[in-house]
């Protein structure tokens, strides 16, 4: 059987102001922002291709990681404009593509691994035990969701 092929793009949103601990971006805002940019660079044709099957599947405020779903034949429109984007909504930020997968399970696996790496690096820098607990909780919160 032939199934509908998708591509899942995992991006990390890095705000210009690095001191920002969390970034409040709604999924609709992110989706609209990306569609606007695609329209800017590829015109109506690009948006037409992309809109079929495009969706923001997941967006985490704390870890600033989002998953975008695109159809298999139009994901290049998204990946090629992500480096050119300099703002989300009205926050100046840049996008960092960290993974592109074909199923959402693979993306989840990757994100968990990525977060664990991130924790390993960051935990040493946090001094108080309570803060550390909280941080581990909010970084790993992906597993439960």
């Amino acid at each position: 059987m032939v199934r509908v092929k998708n591509r899942y793009i995992v991006v990390r949103i890095a705000p210009k102001n690095t001191s920002l601990s969390s970034l409040y971006v709604k999924e609709q805002v992110l989706a609209k922002c990306i569609l606007n940019h695609v329209e800017k660079y590829y015109g109506v044709y690009g948006v037409g291709l992309l809109e079929h099957g495009f969706r923001v599947k997941y967006c985490n405020d704390r870890t600033k990681i989002a998953i975008l779903r695109c159809s298999h034949h139009s994901y290049k429109f998204v990946t090629s404009i992500l480096p050119l984007m300099t703002s989300v909504g009205d926050v100046p930020a840049k996008f960092n593509t960290i993974y592109t997968g074909a199923t959402i399970m693979q993306c989840n696996k990757f994100i968990i691994k990525h977060q664990q790496n991130f924790l390993d690096r960051m935990v040493g820098q946090v001094v108080s035990a309570k803060e550390r607990q909280e941080m581990i909780k909010r970084v790993i919160e992906f597993d439960t969701s």
Partner: protein
């Protein structure tokens, strides 16, 4: 053979502000780059009344502090970009000693004649373009083919692309010119970023190459393998022909598979040396530094093959 690791960013403009330079380097490490080149610019076209000094090119800036600081994280090279209008620069380059102190030498032509010269006889490694002035310079097919054959690489900088809309159009135009003339052979992509916010991760850059008309494979090579080739070429230009000793410190086991690989490896080395025929044959004193003591003869050829 000097080791370098991917990914590469061969254009980080030098900045007097140490703090900013450090911030950029930190960001580069975070994004996963392993080898970068700090760029110095030298404008040859401005200096009409150059004093008859022996060396018109500047000395490389001392970056020891930076190299020490990022010792295990980043390999920091130095690069000189020469902006020029006429062919007279070739003579000055011929007898310059300072030029050899740079790891990479790039040419940035300002006129059509200079561009053709840059592709055909320029004794550098890289052809680059200024976003403002270079927009009207298009390489023609013949010069492009010659440049590819000589092993010269063409550079596309992506940070002006992010900052300004007008440059975006120009750079896409230049990039597609390469595609039209010769299927985008020998292209590398580098940042040219003046602040950390303009830097992008290596995979982003590879994806961005889609709008330059590069294929997926070419896009990835543009930040990884081609840069390694470029580095090797630059190194062979800088050092010229050298003698290399291979010492064994243990018993050598010859097996069939390893010996055949060894031959391949030697053939590659010879080809590399043939490229710089203009260079005078010389035996530098520093040949000791080139010496490689090989502990395990079986492993070494494999390693070399993988790296290059």
């Amino acid at each position: 053979m000097e080791e370098t690791k991917g990914f590469y960013d061969f254009c980080v403009p030098y900045n007097k502000d140490e703090k900013l330079l450090r911030a950029i380097c930190n960001e580069l490490v975070d994004l996963g780059y392993k080898t970068i080149a700090i760029e110095q610019v030298f404008d040859h076209s401005k200096k009409e009344n150059v004093k008859r000094a022996s060396d018109i090119f500047p000395e490389p800036i001392n970056l020891k502090w930076l190299q020490d600081e990022f010792k295990n994280k980043l390999k920091i090279l130095q690069r000189l970009t020469i902006i020029y209008m006429d062919v007279a620069v070739a003579h000055a380059m011929g007898n310059s000693m300072n030029l050899k102190k740079f790891n990479l030498v790039a040419g940035q032509p300002k006129t059509d004649a200079a561009l053709t010269h840059c592709c055909t006889t320029f004794n550098g490694d890289l052809v680059t373009f200024d976003a403002q002035a270079g927009a009207r310079l298009y390489v023609n097919r013949k010069a492009y083919q010659v440049a590819v054959k000589r092993g010269i690489f063409f550079e596309i900088k992506y940070s002006p692309l992010i900052v300004d809309t007008n440059f975006r159009k120009d750079i896409i135009k230049i990039a597609h010119n390469y595609f039209v003339r010769g299927k985008s052979k020998s292209i590398i992509i580098s940042s040219g970023a003046t602040n950390p916010f303009e830097l992008r991760g290596p995979y982003d850059v590879a994806n961005l190459s889609f709008i330059f008309g590069l294929s997926e494979d070419q896009g990835k090579c543009a930040i990884d393998r081609f840069c390694r080739q470029l580095f090797l070429r630059a190194e062979s230009r800088r050092i010229g022909k050298t003698i290399m000793f291979v010492k064994s410190s243990g018993p050598i086991v010859f097996s069939d598979s390893s010996s055949s690989e060894h031959e391949e490896d030697e053939g590659m080395l010879n080809a590399e040396e043939k490229e710089d025929q203009e260079d005078v044959i010389k035996f530098p004193k520093s040949s000791d530094s080139e010496q490689e003591s090989v502990d395990n003869d079986d492993e070494q050829p494999n390693k070399k093959k993988k790296l290059s």
